[in-house]
């Protein structure tokens, strides 16, 4: 299942997408995240599932734009001028280099920004 955690508002879309079919709940992403955005636990969307899965903790869901952006502005700045948004291709490439994404062997985490 694709779980889209986050929100969209006038300034853009801020979602972290977790593919729970791929995620095995190893917890590496949660460990590596400098803002403690991710949490490991029982699947909030599937109570009958055994085993754990990663999700965006409830307290963080409303402020991803602020908690997640330190990682992302670094990437944005690296890819060109800090003021302009990189091309979709560059962005897609850069989003793969986020620490939570890189550490995931199952390729279960995605970001939309």
């Amino acid at each position: 299942m694709l779980a889209n955690w986050g929100y969209q508002d006038g300034s853009g879309e801020y979602f972290i997408t977790i593919d729970t079919d791929k995620c095995d709940g190893c917890g590496k992403c949660a460990e590596v995240c400098p803002q403690n955005v991710l949490e490991i636990g029982e699947d909030p969307a599937d109570p009958m599932r055994s085993g754990t899965v990663v999700f965006v903790s409830e307290k963080q869901r409303q402020k991803l734009r602020f908690t997640c952006s330190p990682c992302k502005s670094y990437l944005t700045a690296k890819s060109g001028s800090a003021s302009s948004r990189p091309s979709p291709e560059t962005l897609a490439h850069e989003l793969k280099n986020l620490c939570c994404v890189m550490v995931c062997e199952k390729e279960a985490i995605g970001h939309s920004w």
Binding site: M1, L2, A3, N4, D9, E13, R61
Partner: protein, 315 residues
């Protein structure tokens, strides 16, 4: 003189009845003897605006109640429960398993387990509308979510706007009150217009309210302002729906599902129709069990409660 003044105040208060208030309801299935059932499961959905309690006997709908939430989740849960139990002779002690869901799910005293409303809505809508539905739009009191499910009600993809209540039920209540139209008439009246206006530019309740004030001052008809607000609500949901993708059949749940001013505008914008609000189970249709789109979450919770009880027994 003084008493005269007081009387006038009281009178105006009565005239000013609460336009935003929707009808609370309850229903019991007279054909079921709960004492003969083997598993009594209950689901309580304490939302930000409304609270529902659904009681099932062996997976069949036995009773439900839908009320307005108070400020305390535990208190709301008790109110909903007592309303659903009214006249049945059943007490909470007769329940085998109770699952809590919704915004206040962790604070429901009688529930054994809390399950998120996303999971419950998927399961509940699948049971109410039948296995044909693939996309559910739930428009609740303070959030809206779009859920894609498979034929068993298992979630495939979902998105929920966690950020704010704009374009949700509570916003509609505030808006109805502001323009002085009873909330149940909003949908109907929003179509009583000459031509469809542009949506108001913001669904944020506060901004929309001031924009509406401006439009009314410009001489807009109240119905036209309602149309513009309903239309803005519909466009906002469309953004979320596009994110998870739309696969037929489409179903709508939650309080706003009862407002055709919004639901029909969503249909127009996405070019698809919502499946009619009818029970999948033909028996329920025959007996004309009232179909309430607001109980979907609590129905799902009650179904999970039953499954969990069975799992417990199996151990």
């Amino acid at each position: 003189m003084l008493t005269g003044d007081v009387a006038v105040v009281a009178e105006t208060k009565e005239d000013n009845n609460e336009l935003w208030r929707w009808k609370e309801s309850r229903w019991t299935n007279p054909d079921i003897d709960w004492r003969a059932g083997s598993i009594i499961s209950a689901g309580i959905d304490v939302g930000s605006v409304s609270t529902q309690c659904v009681i099932m006997v062996d997976g069949e709908l036995y009773a439900y109640a839908s009320l307005r939430s108070g400020s305390g989740s535990a208190d709301s849960a008790w109110k909903g429960t007592n309303k659903a139990l009214e006249g049945t002779g059943m007490t909470v002690d007769n329940w085998d398993y109770c699952v809590g869901t919704g915004y206040g799910r962790v604070l429901i005293p009688m529930s054994k387990r809390a399950i998120t409303e996303i999971a419950c809505h998927g399961r509940g809508a699948n049971w109410m509308y039948g296995p044909r539905i693939r996309t559910i739009l739930d428009m609740g009191g303070q959030d809206c979510k779009v859920i894609r499910i498979d034929e068993r009600g298992k979630l495939l993809n979902f998105v929920m706007n966690d950020k704010c209540a704009a374009g949700a039920g509570r916003g509609m209540e505030v808006f109805a009150d502001f323009v002085g139209v009873p909330i149940i008439e909003v949908g109907e009246r929003s179509f009583d217009i000459d031509d469809e206006p542009k949506p108001v530019s913001s669904t944020c309740v506060i901004f929309a309210k001031s924009e509406a004030a401006g439009l009314l001052r410009e001489g807009w008809d109240v119905n036209k302002v309602l149309a513009a607000y309903c239309s803005a609500t519909a466009s906002r949901v469309m953004e979320l729906m596009k994110r998870v993708g739309l696969e037929p059949e489409l179903a709508i749940t939650g309080g706003i599902a009862k407002n055709r001013g919004v639901s029909e505008r969503i249909e127009k914008q996405c070019g698809m129709k919502f499946i009619p609000k009818k029970w999948h189970n033909p028996e329920y249709e025959q007996k004309s069990v009232p179909f309430d789109t607001q109980i979907a979450g609590a129905v799902g919770a009650a179904l999970f409660a039953r499954a969990l009880k069975e799992k417990e027994k199996g151990k």
